[in-house]
Amino acid sequence: MDLSYSEEYEEFRREVQAFLKGYWPLQGDEAKLSHREQATLFRERAIAQGYAARAIPKRYGGSEREADVLKARIIGEEFGKAHAPGDIRSIGASMLVPTLLEHGQEWQKERFIAPTIRGEMVWCQGYSEPGAGSDLASLQTKAELDGDEWVINGHKVWTTGANIADYMFCLCRTEPEADKHGGISYLLIDMKSEGVQVSLLRQMTGTADFCEVFLNSVRIPAENIIGKRGEGWNVSRSTLKHERNMIGSAEASRATFRSLLKFAKGVQLNGRPALEDPVIRQRFAQIEGYVTAHLYSGYRQLTLAARGQEPGLAAMLNKLTSTNIGHMLAKLAFDLVGDQALESPSGDEVMNLKPRGGQAWVSQYMWSLGIAIAGGTANIQRNVIAERGLGLPRDRAVQRSN
């Protein structure tokens, strides 16, 4: 156990700091560019320096560096401190690009990877459907080959960013005769195609942060497929192993904990500062136990990865742990906001106006549920932990349907 970095890494940290000092924020005329243009410009320089797109080969616009979780972490820490735009965290960069690298054809890699990691090409993910949530493989959106085009009909839901996306990577049923998982293909749809209709999906929070996408006889080139026909399920699964969020969720939990603590210092409860209330103190201390455990588990997973070992079971618990903590924090926040909880966190007419102060915590109270459901519900996480982590048998109904 040694919580300091070795000299090699401290040296690397100094290099990153020096780079940031010289290049961010942008100066002179460059500072007059739009936020997005500034970010793109800076990101190109960070890639050239080897501080971004490290896992991407140079021929596709990346910086092609040897995998090093500690260096990645140092870059993350220093870029975070400087509020500098590092690796783009979009759905395209985190999910599509690794999939392309593993399964894509050469022309697909050349065309799509570079603009995606620079942030110029925006993607959305067409997975969930109204009838296919946890049981994603039961999806019904149909794609049929007509000459050298796919003709697609269906309805996707919970598609984050579909209203601004250039492309969608989409799971469609192409082999109606095949079994449930074997009939799916992974297609790339240009969102400007005729027949693509996007509408905003408003959540209980009052804001609309997701979309629904209706696909009516949408035609795309036959070559816009990743992997072979019927391999879409496996292609989509391969991205999951790239989602190595070992530490991000824990650090986010700690940040939320700290800001709630700060909020509590300015709030009165039972005629005294809330933090002097014995019950509130207990709850904060109790939650700190979970937050700290989650963080140390992240450090341990990072250490194992740095040693070339598999974090195994511990990594499977990250999402459930993080959303459990989210629930605890949200409940505590809800008790601290008092009467503000009677007011809607968003003006009913004004969509997507981010709430502030106590209202932000009211919004968070609802969002903690959204996060527990998105990307594999808490109950699906429990199935995964039980079956893959603890080796328990699968449900009989699920065994039959597969």
Partner: protein
Amino acid sequence: MDFGLSDEQELLQETVRGFVAKECPSPKLREIFEGQDGYDATLWDGMVKMGLGGLVVPESYGGAGLELLDLALVVEVLGEGAVPGPFFGHSLATLALTLGGSPEQKERWLPQLASGEALGTVALGEDNQAWDPAAWTAKVSEGQVTGEKAYVPYGERADLIIVGVGGGGLVAVTRESSGLKVEPVNGVDRTRRLARVTLQSAPCESLPEAVADRVRDAGLVLLAADAFGGASKLVSMAVEYAKTREQFGQPIAQFQAVKHRLADMITEIEPARGLYWYAAHAFDRIPDEAERAAALAKAHLSDCFMQLARDTVEVHGGIGFTWESDVQIWFKRAMFDRTFLGAPAYHLERVAQLADW
């Protein structure tokens, strides 16, 4: 940056794990649990022969010269096995002398304790949950100590008792001292027996350094480590049982109600090992953070252990509620870990105070 164990530490855990599997399997554990005094000479001798009697004792006094983290790692494994005996109190006594004893006291006692020739223990708590050194009332006057110490691990068997006294000091009292009365307590955890120690002008020697808070913090870390080991063992017991027990024509592990509970159990305990690792590491290397980290680790892990013990009984159903089932052995270790040195609510309030909330 390395939040992990060294090869030596992993080897230490594996060695002790192998020893426990061989020397303290379920029938043996059961025999000691049911026995008169919760002590088995062969088992204890085996442990001290491995060097466990003096893990944190400096090499110059015949020990292994290791740190609290190493000791805590051993305690985790002993917690997994619910290994009965005086290890906890003995280890704290060696630590108290190592940290606070005079050279002459160390010379006299540490080699004997490390070799197992003598058994040590600590008498810290007093009645009415007086676990905090500031709350101790035993009085020292002219080399004699007078007071009542509650819940002393293996007090009846110990050759040397490190006693906490008013003002937060520590004194050493030997078994032969006049004015020392030791009575067994009918403890709930039969793998860690307790006694009540009454001192009536008993001759004693003060430890020159003020280390009572440090010894308490180390105790908290060790209880947290024991809780982690015990809770992990409970999850694997519950998982194994759920895979083999059949009802309605299938293993109960196939019912989602059971699966999800088991998933929640592992999610509760697995990420939490770092709490005791860090608390031990802070004790060894980051003194400013040690007290709060120890309180947090003990509060969190002992509470978790207790809850998982309840869950494990429920997964087992009727058999889990019997005296015959081994689950009760860990259940009662959880009761001990949760209560000894102060319950979670007490330490959570300390966590708040130590952060100036």
